[in-house]
């Protein structure tokens, strides 16, 4: 009995006090680099140690029998190895792709988003670029690929005209994104509240098969879902009055809101002399309405409606005579309604439905006036065409669905179709498209997107097939290599179709190669591209699609938020070599909207003690070509403008006006000066009919100023400002 007890005790003691043994070894990665701080443990126990800076470990353990050793290191796959007495244990660990973010396809695109990992900027960044006037498209001009065009609205991308970049809201095309074009004055974008959009993707080429009808680029905007909380905003400036609110229902299943702006620059143009003499306006009345409604378990219905009115009436010197004035008066009314619905049909199935309706009327008057402002009628060329009244109206409807299926392994299939209908006084047109896109996650560091788009236009009676391919590969250093290829089509504008229906769509091919590296709050992006225009619209010698051209170049982008405390800046540079034969061009030549070198610098610094954010944006563009081109393709004069240099300054002072209020207000006083240095900008030249006179196209005034105060109640802009400025 006693012996057995003793034996038992001994056995237990032996177990507890097993001969201590020293376990040594190392942990390295596949490149034989030591991994410092890796954890080593004996499987199933708390016994272990960590590796030193040379990746070595050594510890004593009181355990007998077979020992299994586990090595773990952040970002690597854990490994188990047996210990054989007296032999060191060498671990080689492999990277664990599951701990890395999947690679994002990004060739040709810049994303401004509050939620996506691939984003270059946030919606707030877009708003706060000095000199953009809250206009998304203007802010985008500081990104590579976009031209600095100061005399017209629109995004001129990589040698493409402004019409070649289209805008999309929640998947569907915005038919008329800008107010009616005014000669020599850039117009506003109708979408006046960037805060309604939490995802903005600017693509300068190679974009997804889900979108079409943009020969050069796309600006894809995604509206916010339900608003987080109720809020209100009011704003006042000498030229502007703003009011808006968002109301979130108690059950948090619905929200609605509106945003209204009335802007009249007439008094301003009297105070600060402009080239043009404004009899009325420019005046704008912009109204946004939005409704969000949760439907069922997963559905979300979004309504975005936008009504805009613009009136402008001005005169300026007539170019063909020294004593006469030319009047230009325009009124523009536009209603845009966008309804979309997103729902989860079943596990891994998503259905997106969207429809949009646009009604647009414009009323343009051209008159020739004498000194007493009476209309002068001269029945000779060129004066005969200077008294005109043009009224136009257009209705546009589009409906679309996209069905997405998410496969295991993160592959995604998206397929859908779209129908567009346009109607005006002269013609109706119907356009059909269907598309499918498959995103393949071939490996954790390799993604491929293949898409195909079919387009058919009833008026043109032409069917087209547009393949698109893009891919992303993550290099071992964490940077990614991207490539994209695609064919893109765009219908001729209706005014040309009036004369000839049998035109095919304009056609371009894009080839893009891109390198992207992002680390520690810095981002570097380099991209080279080649774009080939197979078909472009010609108006001379006959109306045809026989135009052609190409564009090539490279672009650099650098953003740094972390090197200097409280300073956020980005720099972009674009080199562009392009020639095209379009419209009345006699042969392929450089279009007047393309400068070979473009650069921008945007910097913002927040100065906390005075609660003020200072922003500057500086843009440079090398001289652009200009031509005196007759309608018969004859060049009477040509040259290159001087280079463009503009410095814009914005100051935002933030404070609380009524700190005692239950719901504290958040107030911003904004002061802005565009073209601070008053540099004389020349965008091109306007020629008289006989070519004997040429007048530079320049800014309406040397500098433009803005002063306003905006007060938000209940809204959490605070986080936005904080996150962006700190």
């Amino acid at each position: 009995m006693k012996t057995s007890l003793m034996l038992c005790l001994l056995a237990v003691l032996a177990l507890n006090n097993a001969a201590a043994q020293r376990i040594i070894g190392s942990v390295k990665d596949k490149n034989n680099q030591p991994l410092e701080g890796a954890s080593i443990s004996i499987k199933g126990t708390a016994v272990g140690t960590s590796t030193d800076s040379a990746g070595n470990f050594s510890f004593e353990a009181n355990i007998n029998g077979e020992i299994m050793l586990v090595a773990t290191y952040m970002g690597y796959k854990a490994k188990i190895l047996p210990v054989t007495k007296g032999n060191p244990v060498h671990f080689i660990l492999a990277k664990d792709p599951a701990t890395l973010d999947p690679v994002v396809i990004s060739a040709g695109s810049f994303e401004a988003s509050d939620k996506s990992k691939g984003a270059v900027m946030t919606a707030m960044d877009v708003v706060s670029v000095p000199g953009n006037g809250g206009d998304v498209a203007n802010a985008i001009r500081t990104l590579p690929g976009a031209q600095q065009i100061g005399e017209r609205e629109g995004l001129f991308v990589r040698g493409g005209s402004g019409e070649e970049t289209r805008q999309f809201v929640d998947g569907v095309l915005v038919n008329r994104p800008y107010y009616v074009t005014l000669p020599g004055l850039p117009q506003f974008n109708r979408i006046s509240s960037p805060f309604l959009f939490n995802g903005i993707v600017f693509s300068s080429g190679g974009y997804s098969a889900l979108y079409g009808q943009g020969l050069s680029g796309a600006l894809v905007m995604e509206s916010t879902d339900l608003h987080d909380k109720s809020s209100a905003v009011i704003g006042l400036s000498p030229t502007l009055a703003v009011t808006g609110m968002q109301k979130l229902a108690k059950d948090k299943r619905s929200s609605w809101g509106f945003y209204s702006r009335y802007m009249n620059n007439n008094a301003y143009t009297k105070l600060i002399p402009q080239q043009q003499d404004f009899a009325a306006g420019p005046a704008y009345f912009m109204n946004d309405l939005n409704v969000r409604l949760k439907t069922g378990k997963t559905g979300l219905l979004k309504v975005y409606a936008n009504f805009g009115y613009n009136k402008t009436d001005f005169t300026k010197d007539d170019i063909d005579s020294s004593s006469l004035r030319k009047r230009f008066a325009a009124e523009d009314r536009n209603l845009y309604v966008n309804i979309s619905h997103r729902s989860q049909l079943a596990k891994n199935w998503q259905l997106d439905l969207a429809a949009a309706y646009n009604h647009n009327t414009t009323d343009i008057r051209n008159n020739l006036l004498d000194a007493s402002k009476a209309v002068v009628i001269i029945p000779d060329t060129p004066y005969v065409s200077k008294n005109q009244h043009l009224k136009s109206g257009e209705d546009y409807f589009t409906g679309r669905f996209v069905l997405s299926h998410f496969f295991a392994g993160h592959h995604v299939l998206k397929a859908g179709a779209e129908y567009q209908f346009t109607h005006d006084r002269f013609m109706d047109d119907q356009y059909y498209t269907s598309f499918a896109e498959f995103e393949w996650r071939l490996a954790h560091n390799l993604a491929l997107r293949t898409g195909l788009r079919f387009e058919y236009d009833q008026l043109l009676k032409a069917a087209e097939l547009a393949p698109r391919v893009s891919m992303a590969y993550r290099l071992p250093n964490g940077a990614s290599l991207n490539a994209a290829y695609g064919i893109f089509y765009q219908k001729p504008e209706n005014r040309f179709l009036l004369d000839n229906h049998n035109l095919p769509q304009a056609k371009a091919a894009h080839y893009i190669l891109n390198y992207l590296q992002r680390a520690n709050g810095r981002l570097f992006r380099a991209e080279i591209f080649y774009k080939h225009y197979d078909r472009l619209l010609k108006t001379f010698p006959t109306l045809s699609m026989n135009g052609s051209g190409d564009a090539k170049g490279f672009e650099l982008f650098w953003r740094d938020k972390s090197s200097i405390k409280n300073l956020d800046y980005w720099v972009s540079y674009s080199y562009l070599a392009t020639k095209r034969d379009h419209l009345e061009f006699p042969y392929q030549m450089e279009p007047s909207f393309a400068a070979p070198h473009t650069a921008s610098l945007v910097a913002r610094r927040f100065i906390e003690p005075i609660r003020t954010s200072i922003g500057i944006s500086y843009s440079y563009a090398a001289g652009r070509p200009y031509y005196d081109l007759t309608a018969y393709g004859k060049i009477r004069d040509q040259g290159t403008t001087k280079s463009y240099n503009v410095l814009n300054l914005g100051l935002y002072h933030m404070f609380t006006m009524f700190p005692k209020w239950k719901e504290k207000d958040f107030t911003v006083i904004a002061v802005g000066v565009n073209n601070l240095l008053g540099t004389n900008q020349v965008f091109g030249y306007e020629y008289s009919y006989n070519g004997s006179r040429k007048v530079p196209v320049t800014l309406p005034a040397a500098r433009s100023f803005f002063l306003g105060i905006f007060m938000s109640l209940g809204i959490d802009r605070t986080e936005d400002f904080m996150n962006d400025n700190l």
Binding site: L5, C8, M74, G75, K117, A519, N723
Partner: protein, 210 residues
Amino acid sequence: MKQMISLIAVFFMLNTVKAQDQQLAAAVTKLNTAASIADFQQLANEFGRMAAAEPTQWLPAYYAAYSNTKLAFLQKDAERAMQFSNLAEEQIKKAEAIVKPGGNQKELAEVYTVYSFMNRSRVEADPMVNGRKYGPTAGAHLSKARQLDPANPRALYLDGLVKFKTPAMWGGDKKKAKELFEQALKQFEVKPASAVAPQWGRADCEKMIQ
């Protein structure tokens, strides 16, 4: 005889538990003076090993989460920092799952303090992307912790730290922060319940008050 054997077994089991406690206590003491990445990495590893070996104990998981949170704050690279935050989240969730059913408010307050701290590390790693996503969660966990145990010095310290770092116009308040630090220091005077009970933060708090 059987009794004897079970007695001995119990004795040795107690012995192992004691050994584990000693290991934990030693690590907790080390944690009070840890400063470098290497220090915290070793401790994160050690707490992690203990947490794996003792899945029913909340303290090892809790400390592992705290150490990994500190590591997240010490990283220069945002993506790497996020990996540490993610690991810390896994661990603090484990601690929460162990403590929550017991209903011990003081322990739960400790857990939520580290939970909040972990989410702060995410905000700090990449404010632009994470600010809106994790900032409010961090705030909610901290106020939960403050509610559960108003005298918890670590929650007081963290509250002060957030108020100190946030600019005044966005709800920051340096004066209030100082008050919180002073309150926290007072509470740090209260001796921890045991050698292994949460006690980190005192040195950091003292630094803030100078």
